[in-house]
């Protein structure tokens, strides 16, 4: 192997690149290293047990993250299910039907929604959205359909998986629609012409074109899921923060990130709590990494296929 001579350009830029890579690896190792005591003490119970016994006496302490992991996944899935139809419809509307002048305004609106500080979603969610959902959706559903397990929990406060999921759905929609919109715009014009020349209605033509961008929709949803999983403050203000593991939509729960946000401050009082929180962080880290790598990979592969 020949050692390439580094030119001045690489001497300037490469250190920055290496620094960023090292930082990322350092981050992963910090979580792993700090989580180790939890694995030694409790084994896989850390992830698979639903218990949270904080105690002054160290030997009585026992923690399991199952409820938080469940809450993270459950609320994120609700969010994705809400974001999917809206973001697809939004992309179709903006590209096919919005008048040219309005088009830009629609794009600005969704960019603004994507960038809006999450704490503003949080305060709106906690004070406006939760009471609204409780009054107009949760209570009617509970009253009439409480024999169905997912509606069986009495919505006394409104803070629940459902509220968190709806808020997440609102927050990730602009993000998912940006990916889908870009893909939908890339559909070759000849396909559109061909579909229309067959005499298809707009609905039938759109259905065919959507089939063409299906991989992009899938990766948009995966990336949006990744975003929902990591969201912290907005979710922690609406999910109710209780160690609960339930399929019932209206039950309060916890997510990994809101657990870290709430418990980290006082974890130092206890002997064994901190490593468990790091273990939660590690899980979040790895879920985020896997989800994003898959999403990015699918998107890149699709984009490459389209260009050819």
């Amino acid at each position: 192997m020949k050692i390439k001579r580094l030119d001045m350009f690489q001497i300037i830029t490469l250190p920055a690149v290496i620094f960023v890579f090292l930082l990322f690896i350092l981050m992963l190792s910090v979580y792993f290293y700090n989580a180790l005591p939890a694995f030694f003490r409790e084994g896989l119970d850390v992830y698979f047990k639903n218990t949270w016994q904080a105690s002054e006496i160290p030997s009585k302490e026992y923690y399991g993250l199952a409820a938080a992991i469940w809450g993270t996944v459950y609320s994120s899935i609700i969010g994705v299910l809400i974001a999917l139809p809206i973001s697809v419809a939004y992309s179709i509307f903006v590209i096919d039907y919005a008048p040219k002048k309005l088009k830009n305004i629609f794009i600005i609106i969704s960019d603004m929604m994507a960038g809006l500080p999450t704490i503003i979603y949080g305060i709106w969610g906690a004070f406006i959205l939760v009471p609204f959902l409780q009054k107009y959706i949760m209570i009617p559903l509970y009253k009439n359909l409480s024999f169905i397990p997912i509606f069986s929990y009495p919505p006394t406060t409104g803070y629940s998986y459902f509220s968190a999921g709806v808020l997440l759905g609102i927050m990730i929609t602009p993000f998912a629609s940006a990916i889908i919109r870009e893909a939908y715009q890339m559909v070759p014009f000849t396909y559109r012409e061909a579909a229309i020349s067959l005499g298809l209605t707009r609905y039938e033509a759109t259905k065919i074109l959507l089939g063409y961008i299906k991989p992009a929709i899938v990766s948009g949803m995966i990336l949006a899921f990744g975003r929902a999983v990591g969201e912290t403050v907005a979710v922690s203000l609406v999910i109710g923060n209780s160690f609960n593991m339930s399929v019932s939509l209206f039950a309060p729960g916890y997510t990994i990130s809101s657990l870290i946000a709430n418990q980290f401050g006082n974890a130092y009082i206890y002997r064994h709590m901190l490593p468990v929180l790091y273990a939660g962080g590690l899980a979040l880290f790895i879920i985020g990494l896997i989800v994003n790598v898959i999403g990015i990979y699918l998107l890149m592969r699709w984009q490459k296929n389209v260009r050819i």
Binding site: N34, P85, M113, G115, L116, I120, I128, T206, T232, G281
Partner: protein, 277 residues
């Protein structure tokens, strides 16, 4: 094949459905902005200018505003140089192994749960220093800022026509000169867009500050090695309080934060470019 009438019926309900869903999707933004104004304006009108300058117990959020600006400034100081260099590298070597890995890493960091950055910085800086500090918060925010700016830098530079590159190299300039003196200035508008987007993001972040800056609302920050406050963090604390008066303050602070966000965001959109956050 179904008859013309059913096809037409399906078509019309499709258009109606799409339109309804679209408006359902953007409705929250208008509702959020309206609620923040409706709830925020009265409290600010009541307290007047002192809302922006007083300490929290005197009914103002002055220290939090100061803290947010200090954090924005420090985090750009730390994050921007690294971000620009990384972005330029990713542009220059799009097909090499390191270049591709860099691009993937940037994408991953863009999506990364921000609370993890906060806890990481706490364990690396705040704990060894023995105190929360502005500098720790700035490091956390810099890590979040970096991928935004780097990705936009790379994309802005990719838009320069290839002939400019050829022409510059044709003059016999070195790679450093071609890139830093010709291509970077050519793409400065795109790069600036990226910087502004990064700043807009950083100004509103809460999670990375939870365990790094500590919060300081009763006096103005004096040193970057001491705790500071920030508007988003203050809102988060106030929302969780049971008192109605605190909730009013939270709405007022949200209005200020929204205005800061719009102040950074609107210039981006006036010089229009497709922006993705």
């Amino acid at each position: 094949m179904s008859g013309y009438k059913t096809r037409r019926g399906k078509d019309i309900s499709f258009i109606i459905g799409i339109t309804i869903l679209t408006f359902l999707g953007i409705l929250p933004l208008f509702h959020i902005i309206a609620t923040v104004f409706i709830n925020g304006v009265p409290i600010i009108a009541k307290k007047g200018i002192s809302f922006l300058t007083n300490t929290l117990s005197n009914g103002g959020i002055g220290p939090a505003i100061a803290g947010t600006f200090i954090l924005i400034f420090l985090s750009s100081l730390i994050g921007l140089p690294v971000a620009l260099l990384v972005g330029i590298y990713a542009y220059e070597y799009p097909e090499s192994k390191i270049g591709r890995a860099t691009k993937t890493l940037l994408q991953i960091m863009l999506e990364f749960p921000t609370i993890l950055v906060g806890v990481f910085v706490m364990s690396m800086i705040a704990i060894p220093m023995g105190t929360y500090s502005a500098i720790a918060g700035a490091f956390a925010l810099a890590i979040i800022l970096m991928p935004y700016v780097a990705v936009y830098t790379q994309e802005a530079m990719r838009e320069i026509p290839f002939t400019y590159r050829e022409a510059s190299f044709g003059l016999g300039l070195s790679r450093v000169k071609v890139i830093f003196q010709i291509l970077v200035p050519l793409s400065k508008r795109g790069i600036l867009t990226g910087v502004l987007i990064g700043l807009a993001k950083v100004a509103g972040e809460t999670a990375p500050l939870l365990f790094t800056v500590g919060g300081l609302y009763e006096s103005y920050p004096a040193s970057i090695t001491e705790p500071v406050g920030a508007i988003p963090l203050l809102i988060y604390t106030l929302v969780q309080s049971p008192s109605k008066a605190d909730h009013m303050m939270a709405w007022g602070a949200s209005l200020i934060l929204l205005l800061i966000f719009l102040l950074i965001f609107i210039p981006i959109r006036l010089k229009l470019r497709e922006v993705r956050l």
